[in-house]
Symmetry: C2
Amino acid sequence: MSHEDFKVQLFRFIDVLPCLATEQMLNDHIQEYFAQHEKVPAVLRFGAKSAGIGGYLGMKVLAKTIRKNIENMALQFIIGNTIPQTVRNLSKLRQRGFAFTLDILGEATVNEKEADSYAENYMRLLEGLEQARSNWSALGTDNSTLDWGHSPKINISIKPSALYSQINPADFQGSVEHILDRLRPVYRKVIELNGFMCIDTEMRAYKEITIELYRRLRSDSEFKAYPHLGLAMQVCLKSGDRDIGLMLDWARQARLPISIRLVKGAYWDYEIAVARQNGWPIPVHTNKAETDASFERCAEKILRNHDYCHLACASHNVRSVCSVLELARLLEVPDDRYEFQVLYGMAEPFRNALLKMADRVRLYCPQGELLPGMAYLIRRLMENTSNESFLRQTYVEGCEPERLLRAPHLSISETAEKPAPERPERSESQSEFGAFSNEPLADFSLPEVRDAFAGAIAEVKKKLGRTYPLFIGGNEVTTDTLVDSMNPARPDEVIGRVWLAGTRQVEEAITAAQDAFQRWRDIPAHKRATYLIRAAEIARTRIFELAAWQVLEAGKQWRQAYNDVAEAIDFLEYYAREMVRLAHPRYIGHAPGEVNEYFYQPKGIGVVIAPWNFPLAISCGMCAAALVTGNCVLYKPSNQTPVVGYTLLQILQEAGLPPGVFNYIPGAGSVIGDFLIDHPQTSLIAFTGSMEVGLRIIERAARTSEGQPSVKKVIAEMGGKNAIIIDDDADLDEAIPQVIDSAFAYQGQKCSACSRVIVLDTIYARFVERLVDAARSVRIGPAEVPANFMGPVIDESAQKSILHHIEIARKEGSILYSSNVPGGGYYVPITIVEGITPEHRLAQEEVFGPVLAVMRAMDFDQAKVWANSTRFALTGSVFSRHPKHLEQCRKEFRVGSLYFNRGCTGAIVEKQPFGGFKMSGVGSKAGGPDYLLQFMDPRTVTENTMRRGFVPVRSEGKWIE
Amino acid sequence: MSHEDFKVQLFRFIDVLPCLATEQMLNDHIQEYFAQHEKVPAVLRFGAKSAGIGGYLGMKVLAKTIRKNIENMALQFIIGNTIPQTVRNLSKLRQRGFAFTLDILGEATVNEKEADSYAENYMRLLEGLEQARSNWSALGTDNSTLDWGHSPKINISIKPSALYSQINPADFQGSVEHILDRLRPVYRKVIELNGFMCIDTEMRAYKEITIELYRRLRSDSEFKAYPHLGLAMQVCLKSGDRDIGLMLDWARQARLPISIRLVKGAYWDYEIAVARQNGWPIPVHTNKAETDASFERCAEKILRNHDYCHLACASHNVRSVCSVLELARLLEVPDDRYEFQVLYGMAEPFRNALLKMADRVRLYCPQGELLPGMAYLIRRLMENTSNESFLRQTYVEGCEPERLLRAPHLSISETAEKPAPERPERSESQSEFGAFSNEPLADFSLPEVRDAFAGAIAEVKKKLGRTYPLFIGGNEVTTDTLVDSMNPARPDEVIGRVWLAGTRQVEEAITAAQDAFQRWRDIPAHKRATYLIRAAEIARTRIFELAAWQVLEAGKQWRQAYNDVAEAIDFLEYYAREMVRLAHPRYIGHAPGEVNEYFYQPKGIGVVIAPWNFPLAISCGMCAAALVTGNCVLYKPSNQTPVVGYTLLQILQEAGLPPGVFNYIPGAGSVIGDFLIDHPQTSLIAFTGSMEVGLRIIERAARTSEGQPSVKKVIAEMGGKNAIIIDDDADLDEAIPQVIDSAFAYQGQKCSACSRVIVLDTIYARFVERLVDAARSVRIGPAEVPANFMGPVIDESAQKSILHHIEIARKEGSILYSSNVPGGGYYVPITIVEGITPEHRLAQEEVFGPVLAVMRAMDFDQAKVWANSTRFALTGSVFSRHPKHLEQCRKEFRVGSLYFNRGCTGAIVEKQPFGGFKMSGVGSKAGGPDYLLQFMDPRTVTENTMRRGFVPVRSEGKWIE
């Protein structure tokens, strides 16, 4: 399998295969996945009598063969898909001298019902093993209840994330507690059977939770006397050495013997992708030899501490295994303090040889249904086809043994001069400020990040209730109207008190801005950009505090609030570079004797009317764009979040903007809104908010009044009624959490939020069941408590409007779920309603709350038509593994931002320029390459360089010979 | 002088020097031109006691020195600036054995008064020579009235273009006649003095006129008996060999002996630049050796025909001269049949050596004022500093004689493998269609082009009066309203009869367009672009006919009409390539595990409301942009030019556009205008026309009506009140014709037309005098007659409005000139009014006719403020040789299209993207890189490519290691 494209298609096909319920689906997918390949690949065809059988019948036979072949491929790695079959196969293994550890394969746990059922499956499995156990004679010794005289016959491995659907690094203690609640009964049963339990390690994000789980369980007074509890630890993580060192220290201090399964780690690609997507340092060794070296170091450390720690050496690498074997002998480690583990179904010649050498070999045996087993299968196939894999190098490519067995530190130094670049691809937007890269998002798996956030909230709480002035022409200004901004979770808590501008202050601000504009527009673009870069630096140092203000004033969850500030920083950094790019005059269409320059100039006075839902990011984006392009700004923050708006003023002021360039004028829309729009001296209105207000602004701004210098430009981002399509082959493990997140995160108060999910009939029942259970599983309460997935909506008026829409939902459809809500704040229930079709108000009106309409579509064409059937065209998403359907949607699902196989919120600056059309906006794209153009007018300057027939060559370069 | 930048600055400084009337001006220019150079260059400083004298006094002395030095430099090449001084110096030359030919240096002839005065100067010069002649003994022989026994002592050279300010290749016969009118008296006087006259050759554009002049004069019954008439002919032209062959044939056939001065040519750089600017084949040899070879071939041809043709071999190239000398001896050409000429003041060692070898050496002696002499000086300096120059290679760089004297054909073959690229720089806009290049403009110096144009007008006249249907959904449609389109030069001549659409037809067209849109938008962009390329090809084959329609329906002059069609073709070709460029999805902001695409989709149904003044180009540009981006179009041509509008339909239909994609719906604005704008199903309005209509469209389009799918986009190009600033150091030779052209070409009916000229006080008198005389010199009459510079305005209503503005002009200012007009058509007088300041209506309102307000500014700052002092910001221009002023204007003269040292009309697609802001438009730029974006909405599609932790490397390339 050397052709990378083919490998991708094959893996994807295997990934989707279990979903292909009908012949038709199977045939369609085969066609779509392998259309470019001359015929269906041999690996799939194997066993079919391909010659002579054509047409429908031939296809039918072929399809059956393919399914069978892939099932067989999966069963090669899975010990059994029923308990009796599992027990049967385990017995065979034991007869051949291998011990086992059992792992139950499962779908992703997307709700608490599934977490319960996962735990329950272990209980049933353990019961099944209990019966078989008496028939198994012990390995390596006769007449013992323990294998090799020391090791329980029954051994299970268990994945913590499957035991709690709401696992969340930000809610560290809550996650640990909830997992323990389900883990304890299982462990109790293991002890009852005198068995062994290993806690598996999964993604790095859960590593600390997993370690904490182990410590809590191991030191639990109920269990501490029982030694058979293991923890899998990964050395492909750069933190591997340290993690293991700390674990050994803990064991010795707690005087509790432990067991560590040392693995290299199965999430290598995933961890790199996640890190890169989030802007984090790559947490894994990017050079395979470094992982191997770490493995040897860690194994040695454990072996040297064998009195406290038992080692399970889990590797298929001959060199790694031999080094452990030799070292254990050298250190005279007793046999009962170490064993070897390999994966069931992999590298059988190796495992047999190992058994001869090492006696104590345990096979890691996945168990369970084929459907959830596919994820496992792919991971194993990846391992077999990775270029770095020892197995591949040994068995497929016949690599010379000297190289494979070389000490890893030698291989490292050999490749040391080629370090993996941290960011090999360069951004479009780069300049003297360097290439643009997104602000890293918060890694809540790090305790220091959690502590910083909690600390910032505590600090901000001390500052509540202060009074904030207007800021006009560089001066603080107060007026005769002072209003309070409240915490939506506690409507009696005043976040801050804000003076409101009247028309007089607006007039003053316009005068100040006009005055400042005369100089600001002529400041070199590079210098204007520098103010933004400086502002970004300031925001970066205050990032937790800025997020904390949003938690309290806007009811944003930790992650949502942090992401908002990170996005604000992204806008500053991106637009700064974009302006530098656009400020270079373009020399176009040369002919000798003339030089043509094309460049841009600002429009004048910009009004920024900002929403409360991304109170810093969107405000900052619109203001930064207007400012860096050379316009002066009148910034009217939302009246729901004026204090967060004031933080923007602070940042820009600290960055040193000259007086009058940026003016902060909170005010009532009814008092100053039209005045700002109608004023002849405002040239530019950047607005984000509702369609009603947006259209009103567009209409008013288009009227030219006496003395108005230019046609006004309106950049309006308005509403959405965004749909996610769930195709018949959608991966629900991915789709369910993404729909929950898109629809309900930040209470559904995003213009990008999913408010319609269009589900294909064939997958409807399964989807809706899992979705509703997932909605049932989330917690609702104040955003400052990280365990709460959902908080209050922004204010009483929003609450009323959403409750009204829930009433409409009750009339138009049938409520699948409507949660309870806590008292006190402006809470509304998470609501899922089915039976909605395009003619319903629930399918057409923007609710701006956690209300999700489920629409059942007969086929994919209907789903597409429905997806496009609103006035809006903002975001959308498709969960599908039909390549053809995705290609169709690329064209025909016409929204500003479309996503495939991920949710429809969370656009990132530069990566997903954001904005829609139809009634969702005027076709601008914030955070994209065309955005700044809207804030400027293009100009050309043509210079005739010919004088008396003399044409300077200089300007044109070599224009002849 | 090896540093190219310095050379440019020095030449430009010398060019401007004669204008520097005051110490202050001189000092300023020295600072501005040489600021980057550590000190004032030695060549300028020479002779100044630079040491020890600082400050103001030092500068004053230095300035004086510089002026003196450059004057001396000029005088080195000029025989005298008064007649007595000229005679004195000529006498000295003759004493040294040199004959002469005298050429009067002059400013460019920008009006008929100057043409008269140029002829008059020759008469006075000849009178001065008449007196001196008797004191001169003949050269080479004693006691003859002729030098060398055969050659007149008095010899003048005369430039035809200086004898007629309206010289125009399109008006070939008229140009010849008018020049002859002034040339005959001069030649009569020459004959009276028994002298010799040579007609100088100038730019290639006038070559045919010049040859015709020679033939007409030579064969004139009054003069044919007198043999002493010469013609300079250039062999740097690729046509040189052929031109000379034809001339020799003519002489032999006409039995008239002739004299040819064989030169290589002084307009080499200029001809290349002009050709490249106009898209013509480069008319000169781009390899110096080719010119040299042609020189030798032509000289031989003449020498072999010495019985009919006298040769004046004019070259400084030693090899060229020697080859003529040797060949003449070989062919035994009598002495009286050839002579040698060199330039006065150049290469004195060479001329002395030549005299010894060849006896008969004549010096070409420019004569006249320093001011107009500067152009000549620069040409000589260029020659001295050109890398290709024989003189430079001989005297400055010490090139080895073998190389310099090598036969030119050997040098050619040596460099033959490196041909000069015809278009070495590549356009921004390129694609599978190849790089964009502008459609070549008409070269009216070619008789076939003139004939084709005249023929097309005759053909079109046969087709007048036909009836034209609407075109909706692929069908021809008639209605109950039929109107006539008239010829504005003959209001009783019907160009065509056009059915007008009512709202019913508009509704039908919208339905047809909506239907077509469903398919058109999904056609690959490349295919849509192909329709445009095909349309361009069709237009190209019909280019003269399409232009002819405009001459008759819109009253456009030949060149104006041709340029309009060429621009239409440019729009088609440019937007086709632009769309291909924009259709490539941009892959942005990659992170592993996700692929982000950014691309555009069309907006829907576009309404194009077109003006009559560029009846094909602007219509075609707006329609092509809308179509190629995937929109369907309702095209409402102007009711003044519906037949030209119909030609656009023909072209697009012939290109094969599917039915309904393009609909032709002429109609009364009062009937269908608002209906089109208000209709909920029109998404896009592209308009070019008046501010009043534009603002009305903008306002109405911003109202969202029931069922409207999207916010309407209006692309509006509106009026202008464009100013040209004439700085105190402006080159009036350039500025006068450019202002005349910008203000009055096509009767001033361009939104880009100059309607204000802001003249600095110090240059005011001179400028205004020359300007008014220039205006006085142009001819007014039907556009179909190419001698007419100006024609009728578009219709009676325009005529009334302009006449009304002339009345206002009379009240507000003082009329400097208001021409007579012919009867019959809708003519208005060319009008120039002075005494206008910004508060006047003449300085604020768009007249859209040939009315120019002259504004007298006290200084450059006032000029800049005045230039910006209108509601409009479309075009502008500055004639200045102050580098600092140009730099200021680049920023501060805020208009869409600004020009330096050329007029403010005639923007070319790609080179000068066109469009303004303030009340001139919405900041779009037709023919520029951002234009198409306005017709589309951007979209992003993000695909999550990660499955089960498996990240395909394919999409991201090598994203790690």
